[in-house]
């Protein structure tokens, strides 16, 4: 007998309506009739890659795992700032899925998924093919809300790159940064909360400044127009900018600029209540929400992100779906690759428990975000998390302190290099 038939879903645990409970009771019959339970993972980034690999590895062939990812190669958004700064090449932050297929027996489908048919429990591909699942892990990442910055659009991003998704945009921003001449100005429009990688925009500013400084450009400015009054690791970045790039970086919060009114891609300008800023390079990072497929599947709430059960990563809208990574509402956890990887492991354990009867332990989550301010000057923020008070809540947190010695900062950077190597092996095999 399949474990699911011994442990039918219970409304006591999931609090879902009667219709869903009936669907849940029907599931064991379906599962008994097939050779193996099927897990489909949608999205091959930090959350999806981890979930697929973890489920396939730990179930040792007992679960049929399919990973759907439209791109054959994945350029990580994490560490892309180090590429901008010239510390990494693009190849070193680009990964394939061959090992997930060859070493773990995962069926990798490099094609675009169009929709989720929740009633039929299947993913509908863009070409019309149907991929049925017993459990679905959604890790679609973010979509950019283009019109959150008036005048901005997908077309405008070819002129004013966002580079907030790894890939061609990353290369475009690098090319544009490398073309900035001495005396020219860079303008960044920073995103409102919540967004992918909270310290990311400010590490990016640091890496841009590093490139300009390394060329001996003393007359460049980087202006950051921020809709937020404060940002992640603010004291650390402010100290680092003053120390390494004195006079180069100007950060303006809403109290100063009065509101970001819009961009003019043709003119290369950003208009605020305070002034209009012109940039030889304008980097616009718009507001974000969960990937469109999650929105269209009805898995998001008014925030644009997906509510989940903090003890399991299960969608609050559908008991057969787990949402991990940037697309979910993860309480105190920031949107980061580390968080996505951590959440995917909780989902993987839960799914194995339901489909094969594997042991299930209380969910634990971790995150650390390292940021590089200048060569060998790395800082970090992070914490440990668990389900509490109806959300993923921090049980302990830490952050680098200002005025730390050079050896500690160098050690932080070395840690980040080790982390990237380990986590990408954990995601992509």
């Amino acid at each position: 007998m399949h474990p699911l038939s011994r442990r039918p879903f219970s409304r006591r645990h999931f609090g879902l309506g009667a219709a869903v409970a009936v669907a849940g009771l029907a599931a064991p019959g379906i599962l008994r009739a097939q050779a193996k339970p099927r897990v489909v993972v949608l999205g091959g980034g930090a959350g999806g890659g981890t979930a697929a690999r973890q489920i396939a590895k730990d179930s040792a062939g007992a679960i049929d795992v399919t990973l759907i990812e439209q791109n054959r190669r994945y350029t990580t958004c994490f560490f892309s700032n180090l590429y901008l700064g010239g510390f990494r090449d693009l190849g070193s932050i680009t990964h394939g899925y061959d090992k997930l297929a060859s070493a773990y027996g995962i069926t990798v489908v490099n094609a675009r998924a169009a929709a989720i048919d929740r009633a039929a429990r299947q993913v509908v591909m863009a070409d019309g093919a149907k991929v049925p699942y017993d459990r679905l892990v959604m890790s679609p990442g973010i979509d950019l809300i283009w019109d959150s910055v008036p005048g901005y659009s997908e077309a405008a991003s070819e002129v004013m790159p966002h580079a907030w998704k790894g890939g061609p945009q990353t290369s475009l921003l690098k090319a544009r940064l490398d073309a900035v001449a001495n005396g020219e100005q860079i303008v960044m429009v920073a995103p409102p909360n919540p967004y992918r990688c909270p310290p990311g925009p400010y590490e990016r500013v640091s890496m841009m400044a590093h490139v300009l400084k390394a060329k001996g450009f003393k007359d460049c400015k980087i202006v950051v127009l921020d809709p937020k009054k404060a940002f992640s690791k603010q004291g650390l970045f402010a100290e680092g900018w003053e120390k390494h790039y004195p006079g180069m970086v100007e950060w303006y919060g809403p109290d100063v600029h009065g509101g970001i009114k819009g961009v003019d891609p043709a003119a290369g300008t950003v208009k605020t209540d305070f002034d209009t800023f012109k940039g030889a390079l304008v980097n616009v990072i718009p507001a974000q929400r969960a990937g469109a497929i999650a929105v269209e599947a009805g898995l998001t709430d008014a925030s644009g992100f997906c509510p989940i059960d903090p003890a399991s990563m299960r969608s609050k809208a559908d008991e057969a779906i787990f949402v991990v990574g940037d697309a979910c509402i993860a309480g105190d956890m920031p949107k980061s690759a580390f968080s996505a990887n951590s959440q995917a492991k909780v989902a993987a354990m839960q799914i194995r428990g339901e489909l094969t009867g594997a042991r299930v332990f209380p969910a634990r989550y971790s995150n650390t975000c390292w940021s590089l301010i200048e060569t060998d000057d790395g800082v970090k923020v992070g914490g440990q998390y668990a389900a509490a008070d109806g959300k993923i809540a921090a049980s302990s947190t830490f952050v680098s302190q200002t005025a730390e010695d050079a050896a500690l900062r160098h050690g932080n950077y070395q840690e980040s290099i080790g982390w990237y190597s380990s986590i990408t092996a954990d995601i992509f095999g």
Binding site: Q54, F338, N341, S342, K345, M349, R359, F361, R364, Y365, S366, T368, K380, G382, G383, Q384, A386, S395, S396, T397, F398, S400, G411, Y413, Q414, E415, S416, I417, G418, W419, Y420, S421, S422, I423, A425, D426
Partner: protein
């Protein structure tokens, strides 16, 4: 840790002895044979940073194959503040002795490549 004595007086009298017992048992509880299956789950969080031996890059050491005592000593040292890496203090601070024992049991079973 065992349940406290029921009566106030006996609790009071027993306090010194209890404190000593807790101090002694902290190490030994973490050194008891851990639940390696639990450790395998907990370890999924460790390997986000710690490499497999032979594949280390940068500044994070491999921990696979670490003998139980060395593993427990290291985590307790982070937990009680004797070692000062911020990430590891946070990690160890969130682990109970049962979790440390479980992790030690799991990692000790792994042979470095």
């Amino acid at each position: 840790m065992g349940r406290l004595p029921r009566g106030w007086a006996s609790r009071h009298i027993g306090r010194l002895a209890l404190t000593a017992a807790v101090a002694l048992s902290a190490g030994s509880a973490a050194r008891a044979e851990g639940d390696a299956a639990y450790g395998e789950y907990l370890a999924t969080q460790c390997v986000a940073c710690h490499p497999v031996s032979g594949h280390a890059q940068g500044g994070i050491p491999p921990i696979d194959g670490l003998p139980t005592d060395a593993f427990v000593d290291a985590l307790l040292a982070y937990k009680n503040g004797e070692r000062d890496n911020q990430v590891m203090r946070s990690v160890a601070g969130a682990l109970g002795l049962e979790e440390i024992a479980a992790l030690a049991a799991y990692f000790a079973k792994l042979s470095p490549e």
